[in-house]
């Protein structure tokens, strides 16, 4: 019984750690895409203006 309970607790702990890591990756991915998107768009606009 105690062994099962321990397994469940460990499973919850590991899955929550994995979930928070995934969340952080997702968050960083969103912000990086936003930044690079703006940077690339500005580069294009600068090219258009120069041409």
């Amino acid at each position: 019984m105690i062994k099962h309970l321990l397994n469940i607790i460990l499973l919850i702990l590991f899955s929550s750690k994995g979930f928070s890591q995934y969340n952080e990756q997702l968050e960083i991915g969103k912000a990086l895409s936003y930044y690079y998107g703006m940077e690339n768009s500005l580069d294009c606009i600068i090219k258009i203006i120069l041409i």
Partner: protein
């Protein structure tokens, strides 16, 4: 040119810091993840009119995040900026602020006031009847702000009677 300079000054250090975090989180998939975030835009699709539209309020809306659509992304960038890691005041002084007004809010009980706090703070509507908002620092969960209105005067009058 000025817009690109503003963007670099405001968020380049956040990008470097985020890359480091991403690398520590997944060393094996780092290259794939980073290349996915670097969007390749076809410059031929951008016309003069589109670029004029894009540059309208660029710094205020897209770099400072003073637009509802872009606010979420700017909040993440600010969260990872090493300059503001333990320095909410610096973030506030660099004009990254969220302005909140209680005007016409059903819980404000007619009291109208405006408050500003650092942009990276997450704002949530209060769940309790007297709590208007609950804002907290993403980097330090111990720092938070609660806006609460309660009719103290009514209670005082009752006590005097």
């Amino acid at each position: 040119m000025i817009n690109k300079m503003n963007l670099t000054i405001a968020h380049k250090s956040s990008v470097d810091s985020m890359k480091k975090v991403l690398y520590t989180l997944s060393k094996e998939k780092y290259q794939v993840l980073e290349s996915l975030t670097k969007q390749i835009i076809n410059c031929d699709l951008i016309s003069n009119e589109l670029s004029k539209d894009y540059l309208k309020n660029f710094t205020n809306d897209k770099v400072k995040g003073n637009h509802d659509i872009y606010n979420e992304f700017v909040q993440i960038l600010l969260k990872y900026n090493p300059k503001y890691l333990n320095n909410n005041t610096k973030e506030f002084m660099d004009d990254f602020r969220t302005k909140y007004s209680t005007k016409n809010h059903p819980k404000s009980k007619g009291l109208n006031y405006t408050i500003s706090f650092p942009k990276s703070w997450i704002v949530k509507e209060g769940e309790r009847p007297n709590i208007i908002i609950n804002a907290h620092d993403q980097r330090n969960q111990n720092i938070s702000l609660v806006l609460m209105t309660k009719e103290f005067m009514t209670k005082r009058v009752n006590l005097m009677q």
